[in-house]
């Protein structure tokens, strides 16, 4: 039972603290509380992962109501790993948040900011923990609503419009998901994932079930920002406060990908990827996404937007992994999910440091800053190399497995697209580095100094993680292999 409490605490702790931070007096106390909560959650998530590895699946019945009637938290190695990613990223982001938030958010909104942050954190963790598909929708809405609020806190007026747009889009996505869940519920009469898994094979051929499945897929494809449903993402990432960009880029789309995997491999019967258009559509949109989003990235004038488009391209890689549908490819997808959280976290943090100093991330404004801010610049270089997939960085590992997976099935076009994506990444990363180092600095920025230590330390923690997981793949690949085994994907 102790095990279950850990899993429950992970969700309940931030949920309880969200209103508390809102009423705490202004000042750094709110930050401290949030920091404490995220750190404790990171430790809890680590413990939970250990328990799953040692003792197998954890099942916790909320309020003692037995599933399938009550809500069940069901933790296997895949969602334990996901929860750890979310919690660790939050815990690393928080030290960074202190200064960045003080700079970017008006003082009176700071407590509300942290409150919304904790709600978003609750939602994302909840999605990873729950074993009930309607409960998942609830958590999805918690995380989405709070992230709309968080994005709208950005300094520019466009932040409001972006948040509004994301709200409209996100709501459509969530509604699609809910419609899908409703249709499936009408056929099976259950909302518990394991129960659904047992009942769905019997009704899999019904038109209603298929339509429900389609709604769920498309709804989450939107939350995942799968090309061409990515249009909300560049603006949302570009205009959100720096901390939120870091946090959402590293976690939100990842959690959406997790739900995809869960729906495809746990809830629906074996072989659903191949039996429906899912596999082919994912490959198709993955390939188009990689190429076109990378090309869009090259033409962006704002580094945050450039990285946002690059995120869309990276999501394309993960989609390819799901689309190919083999054990290796899904593993590559999970590894890339983890590695991409590290690299985009590091890069957005470094860009946030630039914004902290000069208040802008436009390419023409950051010129020449690389010489004045060598550590930030170094972080961008290493993060960029990882994004390109240079050996010795985390990015190489996931692309390597993805290429292997494509080669296994002899799909040459996919291999070519993956490699072409890396080549275009060289161009857009090169563009940022060129501006930072090889262009003369703008007059106003001549006296700009290196970012404060409190911003640099978390950034470099993620940068070093990029290098570490490029050399030692024990945790990332090991966990992904474990998760693939749990999902029961057989080698094609």
């Amino acid at each position: 039972m102790m095990q279950g409490h850990t899993s429950l605490l992970l969700v309940v702790l931030p949920l309880i603290f969200a209103p508390i931070t809102a009423v705490l007096p202004r000042g750094r106390l709110t930050w401290l509380a949030t920091m404490a909560v995220t750190s404790i959650c990171a430790v809890l998530a680590g413990m939970q992962l250990m328990m799953v590895i040692d003792g197998g699946v954890i099942s916790y019945e909320l309020g003692g109501w037995a599933p399938p009637w009550g809500i069940e938290y069901r933790i296997d190695s895949l969602n334990a790993f996901m929860a750890l990613i979310v919690a660790i990223i939050a815990a690393v982001t928080l030290p960074y948040a202190l200064l960045s938030v003080e700079k970017e958010i008006p003082e009176r909104q700071v407590p509300l900011f942290y409150s919304a942050f904790l709600l978003c954190f609750t939602g994302l963790l909840g999605i990873t923990q729950t074993g009930d598909i309607f409960n998942l929708f609830v958590f999805l809405e918690i995380s989405s609503l709070s992230s709309y609020a968080l994005i709208s806190l950005g300094r520019r007026r466009q932040a409001l419009t972006s948040a509004y747009q994301y709200l409209i889009m996100g709501t459509i996505g969530a509604t699609f998901f809910l419609i899908g869940v409703g249709l499936i519920y009408s056929e099976t009469g259950t909302l518990n994932m394991m129960d659904l898994a047992a009942r769905l094979p019997g009704v899999a051929d019904l038109r209603t079930t298929q339509t429900g499945f389609a709604f769920i897929m498309i709804g989450f494809a939107l939350k995942l920002a799968l090309f061409p449903l990515h249009l909300w993402l560049p603006n949302a990432y570009a205009y959100a406060p720096s901390v939120i960009t870091v946090f959402l880029a590293a976690t939100a789309t990842k959690v959406a990908l997790y739900v995809m995997l869960r729906v495809l491999y746990t809830i629906f019967p074996e072989g659903v990827v191949a039996a429906t258009p899912t596999g082919d559509l994912f490959i198709l949109s993955g390939m188009f996404g990689i190429i076109s989003a990378s090309v869009y990235a090259v033409y962006q004038a704002n580094v945050k937007r450039l990285l946002a488009y690059s995120s869309v391209a990276q999501i394309g890689y993960m989609a390819l992994g799901i689309g190919l549908g083999s054990a290796t490819s899904v593993m590559a997808s999970i590894v890339h999910l983890f590695n991409h959280a590290l690299m985009k976290g590091a890069l957005f943090m470094a860009v946030g440091a630039l914004i902290y100093r000069i208040g802008s991330s436009r390419v023409e404004n950051i010129r020449g800053l690389g010489r004045q801010m060598p550590w930030t610049f170094g972080a961008i270089i290493i993060g960029g190399l990882s994004l390109i997939g240079v050996p010795g960085t985390a990015g190489f590992i996931s692309k390597w497995y993805l290429v292997l997976a494509a080669l296994e099935q002899q799909i040459w076009l996919v291999v070519a697209v993956i490699l072409a994506g890396s080549l275009i990444a060289v161009v857009y990363v090169g563009k940022v580095i060129e501006a930072l180092y090889y262009k003369p600095p703008v007059e106003d920025n001549i006296s700009v100094k290196e970012a404060p230590m409190l911003l640099l330390l978390p950034t470099w923690a993620l940068v070093l993680a990029n290098v570490y997981f490029g050399l030692d793949t024990g945790l990332s690949v090991g966990m992904a292999e474990h998760a693939v085994e749990t999902l029961g994907i057989i080698a094609k």
Binding site: T161, Q165, I168, I172, Q210, L231, L281, V403, L404, L419
Partner: protein, 566 residues
């Protein structure tokens, strides 16, 4: 300890250089190649291997045999000479890049498997581009970027080829690959880009002349020679290489003769010399392979010497345009003399290093009955003498007096050049020491009557041709001009094509959209004109198009599900 791969010495040194004060930096820079050389001589013997397991793959970071050792000796020597030449440079960026670059070249020749090779292949690309960028001009920046794109492309192809090779054979070991199947071809093209095959060569003539005076010396030593080494190991005896090599030896002649930037002339001449090596590899007999690697050895030294002399001129004068130089021998006599030694070596005068190595390839061609191609190579040899042997020293140091009176090159440059010149003469006169290092067993001696006579005849007649053409005013004059090469395709043709294509697509889209709008309007008045025309995947405020796309995707998904996948 003895299984330490020498690249580590360089990489550690580069870290130390970063951390150390300017005072001891030069000592460190000089000590590195010396240490590496000692390590190579005393600790590493043919037949040694060492590996490290990562990601369930065995990374063989040290595979020593006579072939890799020969290149390792060459690279340590070249890095020592280049370091001496660059001793006056205070730019840490170049020093570190130079060390990593030389170290990666060593790592690449000792790499026993494709993964390790790939890693060093990419490191070569990334470290070397800084030697171009370090010039800090807009031109250098752009040229460096283009250079990098080619190099990375080569790496990507190598990785793809290696993976395929792994799929086919289940092994990542880097041995003879051969041109069967896609894997072989991908690896072949990857090597081909780095060794500047025709049409894949423009990164070289585009990038090298833009590098710093000292950077070009480094660049000329490593990248193409690593590629030659890889070709010799992976594709020895592939006949297509003979034809590629002959083309490479011939076509740069024309460009080199009309080119005005003397370092670009040398870049073309570099391709021409690599042509001889590639031909040797293509013939694939023990003699020709020995000739190819021996020629790589002497080429690094004499081409380095020539690049150094032009680097010295660039350093003192600020440019190396043939049309605006001349008469420099009056104030730079030592540089002039050393440049002439390099020129004579590249032209393969007997007693100079080019002669003892190039003649091996030429003899092997005759033995394998490539008579016609041999004539082409003869033409190429004469051409070398023209553009590198005479043109470089003549236009830089003699010709009409330009009035320039620069100082003699700094001492460290002179020492480096003298060192290279000594090696040229030593190999040329005492070839048995170089021959003893060659990987394959061959009994060959260049100094017989036929060889010496043929070569001397060739040289004197082509000197005669130069003198006569010059006297008659027929020799292409040195002009400020832009010569179009293969790079035109991607610098002018493709961008223009893409722009036109985009414009066309844009127009097509516009007219399609307009037509759609008109059509739709006629059916449903309620649909406003602007709402359709705005559905675009990169626009900034996309609520409308998002909704369109999500409904489109859902409908497509359902239709496919119902009609196709049942």
């Amino acid at each position: 300890m003895s299984e330490l791969s020498p690249f580590l010495i360089y990489f550690l040194a580069s870290l130390l250089v970063l951390a150390s004060p300017a005072m001891i930096r030069n000592a460190l820079l000089l000590a590195t190649p010396v240490l590496a050389a000692l390590h190579l001589f005393f600790n590493i013997e043919p037949g040694m291997t060492a590996s490290y397991t990562v990601l369930e793959f065995e990374m063989v970071y040290l595979r020593a045999d006579k072939l890799s050792l020969l290149f390792a000796y060459l690279f340590t020597l070249a890095s020592f000479i280049s370091t001496v030449f660059a001793l006056h440079v205070k730019d840490v960026r170049q020093q570190v890049a130079g060390l990593i670059y030389a170290g990666s070249a060593l790592g690449a020749v000792f790499a026993g498997d494709f993964l390790t090779l790939f890693i060093f292949w990419e490191l070569l690309a990334i470290s070397s581009v800084f030697l171009i960028w370090a010039r800090d001009t807009e031109r250098a920046l752009n040229a460096g970027m283009r250079y990098l794109v080619f190099q990375v492309l080569s790496g990507v192809l190598l990785l793809a080829g290696a993976l395929l090779h792994y799929q086919e054979t289940g092994s990542l070991m880097f041995d003879h690959v051969g041109l069967n199947g896609l894997a072989g071809w991908l690896v072949f093209i990857a090597f081909g880009i780095k060794s500047a095959f025709p049409f894949l060569h423009s990164w070289l003539t585009d990038g090298y002349p833009e590098a710093t005076p000292t950077g070009t010396v480094y660049l000329s030593a490593f990248t193409t020679k690593v590629a030659v080494y890889s070709l010799a190991r992976g594709f020895a005896g592939e006949e297509i290489l003979v034809y590629i090599g002959v083309t490479m030896a011939c076509f740069p002649i024309f460009y080199a003769v009309i080119e005005n930037d003397l370092r670009k002339v040398l870049a073309y001449s570099l391709i021409n010399q690599v042509g001889f090596m590639v031909t040797g590899i293509g013939i694939g007999t023990a003699l020709s392979l020995n000739g190819a690697v021996a020629h790589a050895f002497s080429d690094v030294i004499f081409k380095g010497l020539l690049f150094m002399s032009m680097g010295a001129v660039l350093f003192r004068v600020g440019h190396v345009n043939g049309s605006d130089l001349g008469g420099l021998y009056k104030t730079m006599p030592k540089t002039t003399g050393l440049c002439i030694v390099g020129a004579m070596s590249i032209s393969a005068f007997p007693l100079f290093s080019g002669f003892v190595s190039k003649s091996m390839v030429m003899s092997a061609m005759l033995m394998e009955n490539y008579d016609y191609l041999w004539l082409f190579m003869l033409f190429a040899s004469a051409g070398v003498f023209h553009h590198a042997g005479i043109k470089i020293p003549y236009f830089a140091f003699f010709a009409h007096d330009s009035g320039l009176r620069p100082q003699e090159a700094p001492l460290n440059m002179l020492v480096a050049m003298a060192l290279a010149a000594f090696v040229c003469l030593f190999i040329g006169s005492q070839p048995q020491y170089l021959y003893a290092l060659l990987p394959w067993e061959v009994d060959y001696w260049p100094y017989d009557l036929t060889h010496v006579l043929t070569q001397t005849q060739l040289l004197f007649f082509s000197a005669l041709a130069f003198v006569w053409l010059n006297k008659q005013g027929l020799y292409p004059p040195e002009l400020h001009s832009t010569n179009l090469d293969a790079e035109w395709v991607y610098r002018k043709f493709l961008p223009a094509g893409v722009q036109r294509g985009l414009a066309f697509a844009h127009n097509a889209k516009k007219s399609t959209v307009a037509a759609t709008v008109v059509h739709m309007n006629s059916i449903r008045r309620s649909l406003s004109e602007s709402s359709i025309a705005k559905y675009n995947l990169s626009e900034s405020w996309p609520t409308g198009s998002m909704v369109l796309w999500i409904s489109f995707t859902l409908v497509a998904y359902l239709l496919l599900d119902i009609f196709i996948y049942k």
